[in-house]
């Protein structure tokens, strides 16, 4: 993205994170430009979720800083942090829906919370906005009164996405958005994200190992490993990097190989 240098929505510099007695990040630097989605890949346990939590201000770094929409998330005042939180949405790996609330109430939750800051929407408006958000993620209205415990994996992801978008986030943090979905649902969810991203002009940080999701949503890919960003570039560029994890990740699966042979009978 040409303008990523000019107007970064996320800027992480010299980030150092310790969890327990493990140094998870020694020196992480990255930037995400406006309208761009940066895909982050890395081996399991390499600190991807920790990075996302850092950027969202849920973890405290040992040193370094994370700036989101021009605000240093770890040094922001309470009101700055609140303004910031309204502008981003987080899609947690397992959805993290409130298990005691119906899907409807989960999505309405951030809207109703506005009342505590003197920004209340009338309940009528909240209800209709919630239905609109659910329609945006193609959630069937009939299922809206279900509790999270009664949903399938795909429905959980949709509901969580609707909740993340409830306050019209312009920035999305996605932790493995398609993990745990079957390939068809994963593709549907990827398409949904792409559609909404175009419509709402979203930027984002997406952790994913799903090549399909990376290819269709990730404008650039960053590889996290050994405590820092090993490389950044397009999917094709990153695939060339000589690193055992990357080579493993990009080796065609047996299924892909056989499908390839099926459609290219000569090989």
């Amino acid at each position: 993205m040409a303008d990523s240098r000019i107007d970064p929505v996320i800027r992480v510099a010299g980030l150092r994170t310790r969890l327990g007695d493990r140094l998870v990040h020694s020196n992480v630097n990255l930037e995400v430009g406006r309208g761009e989605i940066l895909g982050v890949i890395g081996a399991s346990g390499s600190g991807k979720t920790a990075l996302l939590k850092q950027v969202a201000g849920l973890l405290q770094p040992e040193s370094g800083q994370a700036e989101v929409l021009g605000v240093d998330v770890h040094r922001a005042s309470w009101s700055e942090a609140r303004e910031l939180r309204k502008r981003w949405g987080i899609l947690y790996q397992n959805g993290a829906l409130f298990s005691a609330l119906t899907v409807f109430d989960n999505v309405a939750f951030p809207l109703r919370e506005l009342a505590r800051y003197g920004e209340a929407l009338e309940e009528d408006m909240v209800r209709e906005l919630t239905w609109l958000k659910l329609a945006m993620v193609h959630f069937e209205p009939e299922d809206a009164w279900k509790l999270p415990g009664e949903l399938s994996g795909g429905m959980v992801k949709r509901a969580a996405l609707a909740r993340a978008l409830a306050l019209e986030a312009e920035l999305l943090f996605l932790d493995e958005p398609t993990t745990g979905l079957d390939p068809i649902l994963a593709r549907e969810f990827t398409d949904l994200l792409g559609e909404l991203r175009k419509e709402l002009g979203l930027s984002g940080l997406m952790i994913s190992h799903d090549l399909d999701a990376l290819a269709s949503l990730g404008d650039r890919i960053a590889v996290l490993g050994e405590g820092c960003i090993l490389t950044t570039g397009s999917l094709e560029e990153v695939a060339q990097v000589d690193h055992p994890f990357i080579q493993d990740l990009f080796t065609p699966t047996r299924g892909q190989e056989r499908m390839y042979r099926l459609s290219h009978p000569g090989n």
């Binding site: 298990s99 003197g118 408006m125 906005l129 239905w131 609109l132 009939e142 999270p148 306050l167």
Partner: protein
Amino acid sequence: MASQDPSVQIDRDHGRTRVRPEGRWTLIADPDGRQRASEALAEIEQPSQAEWDLRGMEALDSAGALLLWRLWGKEYPAELQCHEQQRGYFERLAGLAGRIPEPPGRWWHPLVRIGEGLYHALQAGGQMLLLLGQILVSTGYALRNPRFLPWTELSATIYKAGLRSVVLLGVINFLIGMVMAYQMGLEIAKYGANTAIIGVLSIAMLRELGPWITAIILAGRTGSAITAEIGSMHLTGELSALRTFGVSPVLRLALPRVLGLAIAMPLLVVWADFTGMVGGMVVADASLGISPSLFLERLPHDVELVNFWIGVAKGVINGVIIGLVASYYGLYAQPSTESLRRQTTASVVTTLSLVLVLDAGVGALLAGAGLI
């Protein structure tokens, strides 16, 4: 910033009204903007008959779109020109028409509530008996196939429920013994029958207070923990995982807890009796002039041993009740935090009610049998 505020341009010519909203209509978290937008829109007569041109808007969010949609009477206006992105909102809103389901209703009539409560109580009673049956069958099975006996869980229960309660239970019973001896002593001293404290205190402690205090502490400490522990396994899917491995939750989770409590509780009752009576002895010595040696000497004469055994038996029964009720409410929880809260509360309340009812029942039965 004024140019960015939501505003509306209205042109009227030859009886036709053209409306052109301008500025930023990102209203979801902007109460001032909502106010301004509503005021601007209020000036339009017959908004749904007008020609709308949204292409001059700097931004539009779903709250802005919804505001317009409601103004139009929840359908498209006579004429609408807008960007593709903006149209997305209206298409979804139009698609929702007639598809919004009513929230599932609830009956609030008091009679209905009473009936519901009664039904649920009966249902819980039935299911609890069922669980008791399953536990008995599991026990029989495990006794014939000892490899299925969950030893680890059993010893863990005895350790966590039994050993870990010792200090708390000891301190509380010691204090209660002291308080009881002091209060009773005041009355007894009036009649000069100081040595009567030995029999009165000991019988109260052995038959009622010891088992009762133990049951209260264990219901609060262990019963609630068991319900929360098993109940949260619904949230994490652990119960299904157990079943996948062919492990019966009744055999692996409920049985060792019930059995463990049935073993640990009588021992704790003995400990509670002991600490309570030591507390009583200390006070009897200080305020009634009854030395511990006199106390111990008179004890076998004043108090029949059966009182002790009744208390211990109550301990076994209470242990089974606590384990059974706690496991029941855990196993029958729904995968939600709200259900977990409800089940944990119900577990403690039901346990204590049952303990009390059974205590009274056993008392009446023993009195009938002349064993008082």
